[in-house]
Amino acid sequence: MKVNITHIFENIYKKESDAIFRFCFMRVSDREQALDITQETFTRFWQKLQKDEDIQNNRAFIFMIARNLIIDWYRKKKAISLDKMIENDLEDTPYFTVDDSSIDNLELGPEGRYVLDKVNELSPSARDPIYMRFVEGLSPSEIGEILGISTNAASVRINRGLIELKKKTGYNDNVK
């Protein structure tokens, strides 16, 4: 049993650790902090596995833990005005605006910055779904589970985000 869950954990860690780190890094804009949250995310996931609790979709579950931890981090930090945060939601906090110097640390090219800028320009409810769909390749049902909404609602947000993105970037059907 123990061997089995270690094996499961190891596999998931190999597959998802970078995506989780990236997700955290995008939101907290601080490498050390992102590493901390990533570690905490996987620690909680490991505890859940040990307690043999029923998890339907491991990937969505890990993203959900990470998202909740980021929300907690913002609450503690209070660097961003609480007014901007609507009801425990991350949606109002843009990607990578806390500290512009951290973008330099990423060694992102102009194209990467362009994508991030455009994602930040989207309406708050579309940012997370678009990022998760197109950067991390999560399915609408997984996104729905992470955000605590239905699959249909997640699909609607992705589609609306996509239309918005097309308008902002001037693409027709190039965003896939």
Binding site: S17, D18, Q39, E111, V115, T169, G170
Partner: protein, 350 residues
Amino acid sequence: MKNINWNKGLKQLKNIKMTDTEKDQIFKSVMNYPLPKQSPIKSNWVTYSQIFAFKKHKMAYYTVIASLIVILSGQGIVYASQDSLPGDILYPVKIKVLEPVRSALTLSTEAKAEYESNLATKRLEEAEKLASNNKLDKDTEKRISELVKNHTSALDNDLSRLNKSSKNKKEKVDDIVTNFQAGMNAHSQVLEEILGSNDYIENESEDDSISKTARDSGNKVRQNYRNDDHDLKKYKFKKESVESIINSTTKDIENIKDNRSKAKQNVIENTHKKLDQAKELLKNADDKNEKSDNENAYNDLLDSESSAKEANIFLNVGLKIEDHRNNNKEHNDDSKSESREVRSFLDNND
């Protein structure tokens, strides 16, 4: 051109990764994280918070509230339907839901048979109540007859199962059969008395008259389930019990104080007839017993018991219904005289 930019941008974003050292460090620290052995201390407010959490799940909350309402109002309906009569709104609830459910919940065949026998008697009592209030029409009569037939066939099934199950139950079968026959005969006669006094002309050839159905049912059950194989040692005991029923019914007749009304006289007369019949059958049984015709003696004894019980039931029910009718009559007379007084008062004032 722009499309290439976008795809490149996505690639660059996907390249944001942890270094191998960072990955290893995190993996190790996670794997070494001790599992907390103690369960968290439970807050005193946890019960309340669970109630509020439950309230948040609206569907569950409303479902529970709705089921509570259904259960509580259901109990009210059950209670209210118990005394309902044919034609009442709740009567179908009683005969189609309540009674079948009770019957299904009764486990032993013996109890089931008794329950069905009681239900058949109950139907006749309902008919008596309706008839004494002049509310028994042809349709209701037909319906009650059908119900009596249904109860009889259910009783028939139960008795046949009881007969097959074991020999020890034969005495019980005899009891149930005797009681059923006595009840059917007594109540059908009471019903006939009421209907007769209501100037109701009963067509004897009619198959669905309640009293005929009841008598037929009683006779059918008696013919089908009168055992030939009796425990003859119990003859003496049985005889004593029949005698005691005859004596107590005779005493009941003597104790009736106000026996001047014609209807009551009629009831008493009919009871005497039945008692005489019971005594005669008892005498026959004794004669046959002396001649060592034991089986027939015991059968006569059982018939005598049935007649004695019939006399007892007829007397009690007949008197009760006569009292009820007299009360109604007095009430009607009072209200008539009152209205007469009011009218004369008004006339005088005019």
